[in-house]
Amino acid sequence: MQVKVVIGTIAFMLTMIILGFAALREPARLEEFTLAYEGRSIENGARLFQNNCATCHGVNGKAEECYDSAGNVVGCKGLPLNTASLLCGDKPSRMVTLGWEGTKGNFVQNTIAAGRVGTVMPTWSAQFGGPMRDDQVGDVAAFVLNWESDAMCGVEAVVFEWPDSVDDFLADYAGDAANGEGLFLTYACSGCHGDLGTAGSNAVGPWLGEIAVIGGDRIAGTSAAQYVYESILHPNDFIAPDCPNGPCLSPSAMPPNFAERMSANPQDLADILSLLLGE
């Protein structure tokens, strides 16, 4: 019996030592699993993004490279997500534009869950009739936010002083309509405004195939070129009357951040103007 007492006591003490050892290691282990949970959430989000979001926002989230289900290149309908204006800082410019007061994470998660009214962005959360569970919405948000990098956010944003008059602008930048065709896709213009050659192909915004002709009639005393130039840079200044589902919504569904996005390459705007106005 004495042997049993000794064995039992030793076993009990060893158990306590092991538990003590486990307890000492615990803070580090909890940290490791917290990171692992976040990491796997990002992985799940990446899979969901590829299957659901890349069609409109592009495979790398820059809204530059979009494919339809058959694998053909199509114009991206979504906004770029892999961009400083959404990801950098605590209050990225897109949140400021939309007047969002919550956190960046909430903003992205909320947009995915509830969609964006007036645009083709649908609701994704099952709560609002979409196909995703809430944890999946969180996963996608985690993936989108993971594009933030020092390389992207460390660079000072270029701010281009856009001249008031389109003529002053075009005096410095000569447009190239052929290059504009590609840009019309990569800036995702075609996603809403459709194919310039086909009337009625526009899904959300006005069809722009004849804008060179009708643009001059929109605002008295404003040329077509000046009208298109201002509409791209400041979409809310004038709301067009001819969206596919009746008069366009106010505020405009057109992203108000092209002035910012094109700051680094003002030539892009010149090329698009050249394409639209046929000059």
């Binding site: 019996m1 049993k4 158990t15 092991i18 615990e26 990002i42 992985e43 990446a46 993936f143 594009w147």
Partner: protein, 548 residues
């Protein structure tokens, strides 16, 4: 009635304190004072009247235990402590389970994140989850072995038939308890294991109206969802433990009533002398059996804690998804035999046969009435038992992935090295060794032993599932008779002339894609998995029960 203060005045502080401690000890042990405990621990003869019998008379916990055992049944043989161990495991599962319940919500929207919360936010949470899970599997094993032992020593025979019958019910309840706990993490493993089980319930040999209602009762809705999870949770934490508790007490009452059966050779044939124990062959519960039980409690706890911490890890797959069925859904090992049977016969037949088998086990002692418990007199019975065990082992093997319905060859390669669920060889490579680039199977990467090893596994997997891959030692045989893919029914579906590559690409800070590309006759597939630097898949491969 003297107060403590009076006693101090009378005997002095020290003596009064000793008397008080003595009195407290006697109250707690229901009859043994400090001196009695010390003399018991020293191994002295008890004084008269024997104070060590008083706990059996006066306390609740000891009154259900016999005050002495026949010395013959206190050795490892014939009981192997298996009945005691089963009880211990039940208590163990109850304690660890109650702790886990604190951190668990039985709802599909919360259950899975609760699991991660237990792993990443609850101190010792992973240890408790592992202890509960390893405990469940050990309990199944112990209870099954207990039944086997009872059969082999013939202890089910008259007058212990009813003890055997309750024991069989306890075995079934143990399996159901273990399996019902399977669903609760609400991951892919849980969801699909239960879906298979429920489809079995649906196939029960009964009118369709009965079947569909069985299914409705078991999952609370036409498909497995919130209602089903809540029901299985309640089965697991309330209904089944309650029923098991009731049958446990009946079982144990019968054990004490009839006494522990002696080793078969110790008795005359047809006699049962378990309750007639000569004074010279008694081992008293206090202190010998009690000490022994405390020792086994300490040792078993030590083994389970160490096992749960270092050697064995409860799995957690992706969130349950009714739309995505993982390749090769397997039953837990203790139900693998039923999956084996499903490959042999019609579902309805199998589902009908299992309860029939259980009932025949339960009533067996009432029909098998041979008087002798001795091994030499029970050649037929023991042969049947061993034959049954052999059948169960083979069935278990047939239920395992070794004997599965084979998927297409490229999917089998993926399953071996970059599976949809679990870590797998490729994901287990530490992130810093996943150098972006395109690699071919078997390629050697200088200075990168992890990726080199993964590519070796890649080549081996390709070799098993394709014919003309360079370096396949079975090339000629493969060309003439197909590959040696180990399924028995699809030998000739191996990929011919495959070109396969692994591409690693960093698509975000700390996030890479691993893409397996397969091109062969009739095969054109890209399979992508994502790997984050912090996901820590390598951790999962440190345990003996994980296959990476």
């Amino acid at each position: 009635m003297t107060t403590f203060f009076d006693q101090v005045k009378e005997m002095g502080l020290k003596q009064a304190a000793i008397a008080k401690v003595d009195e407290a000890a006697e109250r707690i042990t229901a009859g043994m004072n400090v001196g009695d405990i010390r003399s018991a621990l020293r191994g002295d003869e008890p004084r008269r009247p024997n104070p060590r019998l008083r706990p059996h008379a006066d306390s609740f916990w000891f009154h259900i235990r016999p005050s002495f055992y026949h010395t013959e049944v206190t050795h490892i043989y014939p009981t192997f402590r298996l009945g005691w161990l089963s009880t211990f495991m039940f208590v163990w599962e109850t304690i660890t389970g109650i702790i886990l319940m604190v951190f668990y919500t039985p709802s599909p929207s919360a259950a899975y994140s609760n699991m991660w919360n237990i792993l990443s936010n609850v101190p010792l949470g992973q240890l408790f989850r592992n202890m509960h899970r390893i405990g469940a599997e050990v309990m199944v094993l112990v209870v099954a072995l207990h039944m086997l032992r009872t059969f082999i020593t013939g202890s089910y025979k008259k007058p212990r038939q009813f003890t055997w019958a309750t024991g069989m019910i306890l075995l079934v309840l143990t399996l159901l308890l273990s399996f019902s706990g399977y669903l609760l993490p609400w991951d892919q493993l849980a969801y699909w294991a239960l879906t298979v089980f429920l489809s079995g319930a649906e196939a029960a040999p009964a009118p369709a109206a009965v079947n569909s209602n069985i299914l409705l009762i078991l999952q609370g809705a036409p498909s497995l969802g919130a209602g089903g999870l809540l029901r299985w949770y309640l089965f697991h934490v309330l209904l089944m433990p309650l029923i098991l508790g009731i049958f446990f007490f009946v079982h144990y009452y019968k054990v004490v009533l009839h006494g522990f059966s002696l080793p078969p050779g110790r008795e005359e044939i047809g006699e049962d002398t378990a309750k007639r124990v000569p004074r010279t062959e008694r081992t008293y519960f206090m202190p010998d059996i009690f000490t022994s039980e405390l020792m086994w409690t300490a040792v078993t706890t030590l083994l389970l804690v160490a096992g749960a911490l270092w050697f064995w890890d409860a799995p957690l797959e992706h969130h349950a998804d009714p739309i995505v069925t993982p390749l090769h859904v397997v039953a837990p090992w203790y139900l693998s035999w039923s999956q084996g049977w499903l490959k042999l016969a019609d579902k309805t037949l199998v589902v009908g046969f299992i309860p029939l088998l259980m009932v025949s086990f339960i009533v067996m002692p009432y029909f098998e009435v041979g008087k002798s418990r001795r091994y030499a007199d029970r050649r037929l019975g023991l042969s049947v038992a061993f034959l049954f065990m052999a059948v169960m082992f083979i069935s278990n093997w047939m239920g395992s992935p070794e004997y599965r319905v084979e998927g297409s060859p490229e999917m089998e390669v993926i399953q071996e090295i970059l599976p949809g669920e679990g870590a797998g060889t490729m994901l287990a490579v530490p992130y810093e060794y996943l150098t972006p680039g395109t690699y071919s199977p078997g390629q050697e990467i200088p200075g990168n032993p992890y990726l080199t090893r993964a590519l070796e596994e890649y080549q081996a997997a390709m070799g098993r599932h394709s014919c003309t891959l360079q370096g396949n030692p079975e090339l000629d045989k493969c060309k003439s008779e197909g590959t040696g893919r180990y399924s028995n029914n699809s030998r000739n579906t191996a990929m011919l002339d495959p070109i396969s590559t692994l591409t690693i690409e960093e698509i975000q800070p700390n996030l890479s894609t691993l893409t397996l590309r397969f091109e062969a006759t009739g095969v054109d597939l890209d399979w992508t998995s994502w790997r984050h630097a912090d996901s820590n898949y390598e951790e999962e491969c440190r345990f003996v029960n994980k296959d990476c």
